[in-house]
């Protein structure tokens, strides 16, 4: 599904990622943990094609293709979804309109017919139940005036509608209270299939209580310094990041 080999990335001549290696197979859930400044968000941005990053070494293949050569919208249409850490507000554009436009852009790319307004409404009303969101959010401007938690739920709603192959969740747990965390986690779990892979980026172990990863990696100072099973997250929580940072040094 996703293969990252020796990835080095600079931002404004400063090295942020310094040789990341990661392999994600279909259906696997990987968690990346790490302290502030470790390069977690850089990794999610480089995978999704955000401007402002320079790859100095290494390569990333996604479903057999050179991911880094693809435009961001093409990556999305090929099934790569990023749930943003800070979802942006788009005044004037209704949430439902954006989601329909996005779904149809994806379907068009796959050679499928576009979904009409009625069918889309049925689909979205079904999916919104997963997130336990009020239907009024569909008609509000994208993320405008949403609370932090509502924005994060809205991201997962979009994932549920677009049905991507690979979901990158960038600190989806931050800003969620415990009830919202449970709802979001439940929705993510319901999206898990044998084919769909996840890369969860998080600071804390708490989300991993609800969404059990197959693998946990620790990113520190631009490298994955430790990998293991779910138990690694618990160990980290107990011993702190200094433990792995010290071990890596």
């Amino acid at each position: 599904m996703l293969n990252i080999e020796n990835l080095h990335v600079n931002v404004a001549d400063k090295a942020i990622l310094k040789g990341v290696n990661l392999q994600i197979k279909p259906g696997e859930v990987h968690a990346i943990m790490g302290p502030n400044g470790a390069g977690k968000s850089t990794l999610s941005h480089i995978l999704s094609g955000k401007a402002g990053y320079t790859v100095t070494q290494g390569k990333v293949t996604y479903a057999g293709k050179d991911l880094l050569a693809m435009e961001p919208e093409l990556r999305a249409r090929e099934g790569m979804f990023l749930a943003f850490q800070y979802p942006v507000e788009i005044p004037g554009v209704s949430n439902i309109y954006l989601m329909k436009a996005a779904l149809n852009a994806n379907r068009k790319h796959q050679g499928l017919d576009e979904v009409d307004a009625m069918d889309f409404l049925t689909l979205v009303k079904d999916k919104i139940k997963l997130l336990q969101m009020d239907e009024k959010f569909l008609y509000r401007a994208v993320n405008e005036g949403f609370s932090g938690g509502e924005k994060k739920r809205n991201e997962i709603l979009q994932a549920a509608i677009l049905e991507p192959k690979l979901c990158v969740l960038d600190e989806t747990d931050s800003g969620l209270d415990i009830d919202a965390l449970k709802i979001v986690s439940k929705a993510i779990n319901s999206l898990r299939t044998e084919q769909r892979s996840f890369l969860m980026i998080t600071h804390y172990q708490r989300m991993l209580d609800y969404v059990k990863p197959d693998f946990v990696h620790v990113l520190a100072d631009g490298r994955i310094v430790k990998s293991g099973g779910p138990e690694l997250a618990l160990e980290l929580e107990e011993k702190g990041y200094q433990w792995v940072e010290g071990e890596a040094a």
Binding site: K50, E73, R75, G92, Y97, A105, A141
Partner: protein
């Protein structure tokens, strides 16, 4: 939004598709303007003598005037002697023609523009007056409208058929000395539409005029006069296009609306004159004076405009609220891209008691364009309890364009209430990236955000126009994302 992204997507990659030229035999005056030209113009149109007097009076006054320079516009000097003031397709015989007599080449032109003049093909419920360069070439559904008592015809024809009616109202809202371009128009206007809705009549269909500039080196000077008598109602639409040419062409129009007791006029414009190319070469100079006078109690006028074309737009559709309890509305979307410049807005003049006005202006600037809102809200001494609400939003696409807002407020009545809200925003990289990450192209994302920004205005447009307007924004923004 009613139009889907697909429609915008299909349209976004097109150039200015109305930019073609129709080849046909025309009668054109040589360039130049003097009293003789005006006399010749009046004669060719077989006008009643009061018209020649009116024109000459306007011309003499115009010669003493200077072009206004207060607008936020950079205009190259216009040589008024290098313009031809009359150009019309040759026709057989005199007088108005029926549709079968119209040159097929002309019918074809309008068909290409998406305005079939054949009544069978035409969207039911919309009557069209087609103005080509200096003359009206066809008006549809005249018979059906006449049955309802509605007069809808070219103003040149109205001067033949209803001279007293025209004389009674022409120049009473915008006088022949009003401003430089209005005076020029009064001196040389050639055609336009005339509408009279009698007392108590609700016009049974939408009326529309489609203006087309075709000939090179000519100016188009159109005149529209609409009278809504007591208790009547009409919705009127206008559209405009022109071929792509390297020279700038002048379009100086005057529109006068008269609204009596309890009457209502809804006036919508989709202005898509040729804007010039991406380097700012060519395009129409659009200098327009539009004004409505609510003369009666409870009179209502609503201007809705979508301005996407023209190299330069100078236009302030205004409402004079004379009658007590009268209402004026102005909804505007002005989009400028590349090197386009627009200085547009409105004037709300509150004179009667309990008059109210609403201004919603949405300015979008992309490329190297400059977009200015200029508005005046004036409340006279006698306008007790006058109300105004103004919302003025600007959206910037890219970092080389400009948005400017000049609201003027003059209030002489203490019970008046005037509100002004304004915002300026920019389509951010983060918004575009977010949309791209969902699978939309950057251009679709811009279209979507801009359409969302304009939603409040689009909902005021008649449906067919709303779809056209959204599509136009897509085309006009082409290439605005680097």
């Amino acid at each position: 939004m009613s139009s889907s992204t697909k429609e915008i997507e299909n349209l976004i990659n097109q150039d200015y598709k109305q930019g073609f030229v129709t080849e046909l035999e025309v009668e054109t005056f040589p360039p130049g303007l003097d009293e003789e030209v005006i006399a010749k113009l009046s004669k060719i149109k077989n006008e009643p003598s009061f018209m020649l007097e009116y024109r000459l009076k306007a011309f003499r006054h115009w010669q003493t005037m200077k072009e206004p320079d207060w607008a936020q516009l950079n205009i190259e000097a216009i040589d008024y002697q290098s313009i031809s003031y009359y150009s019309a397709p040759k026709k057989k015989g005199d007088g108005p023609q029926s549709l079968d007599e119209v040159d097929p080449e002309l019918l074809e032109t309008y068909k290409k523009l998406g305005i079939p003049l054949d009544e069978q093909e035409r969207l039911a419920g919309v009557a069209v007056d087609a103005v080509f360069d200096s003359v009206s070439v066809a008006t549809t559904f005249k018979g059906k409208l006449k049955d309802a008592g509605v007069i809808f015809c070219p103003i040149s024809e109205a001067l033949q058929e209803y001279p007293e009616l025209v004389k009674k109202y022409l120049g009473t809202v915008v006088t022949e000395t009003d401003n430089f371009f209005a005076s020029l128009n009064a001196a040389v206007f050639t055609d336009g539409s005339f509408v009279y809705i009698p007392k108590g009549v609700r016009c049974p269909m939408e009326l529309s005029t489609y203006f087309r500039i075709n000939a090179a080196n000519t100016g188009q000077f159109e005149r529209t006069l609409i009278i809504a008598d007591a208790g009547s109602h009409v919705s009127y639409l206008e559209g405009c296009t022109a071929p792509m040419r390297d020279e700038n062409q002048l379009h100086a129009a005057v529109v006068e609306l008269v609204i009596m007791d309890d009457a209502e006029i809804k006036y919508s414009t989709v202005q898509n004159w040729y804007p010039g190319d991406e380097n700012g070469v060519g395009g129409i100079y659009n200098f327009v004076t539009k004004r409505a006078e609510c003369r009666g109690h409870n009179a209502k006028v609503s201007w809705t405009q979508v301005e996407t074309g023209s190299a330069i737009t100078w236009k302030y559709p205004s409402c004079v609220l004379l009658g007590d309890n009268s209402t004026g509305e102005f909804y505007s979307v002005a989009l400028t891209n590349n090197y386009q410049q627009a200085d547009t807005g409105t004037k709300m003049i509150h004179i009667g008691k309990n008059t109210s006005s609403t201004i919603i202006s949405k300015g979008i600037s992309a490329g190297k364009a400059q977009n200015t809102y200029r508005g005046l809200v004036k409340v006279g001494k006698g306008a007790e309890n006058a109300r105004n609400f103004t919302q003025c939003d600007s959206l910037l696409v890219g970092d080389k364009c400009g948005a400017h807002t000049f609201p003027y407020i003059e209030v002489k009545q203490p019970s008046a209430q005037v509100e002004h809200e304004a915002t300026t925003s920019k389509i951010s990289e983060d918004q575009l990236f977010f949309c791209q990450q969902r699978g939309l192209s950057a251009e679709d994302a811009v279209s979507m955000i801009v359409n969302g920004f304009c939603k409040e205005v689009f909902k005021e447009l008649p449906m067919e126009f709303a779809v056209e307007a959204q599509a136009l924004l897509g085309i006009s923004l082409e290439g605005s994302v680097g």
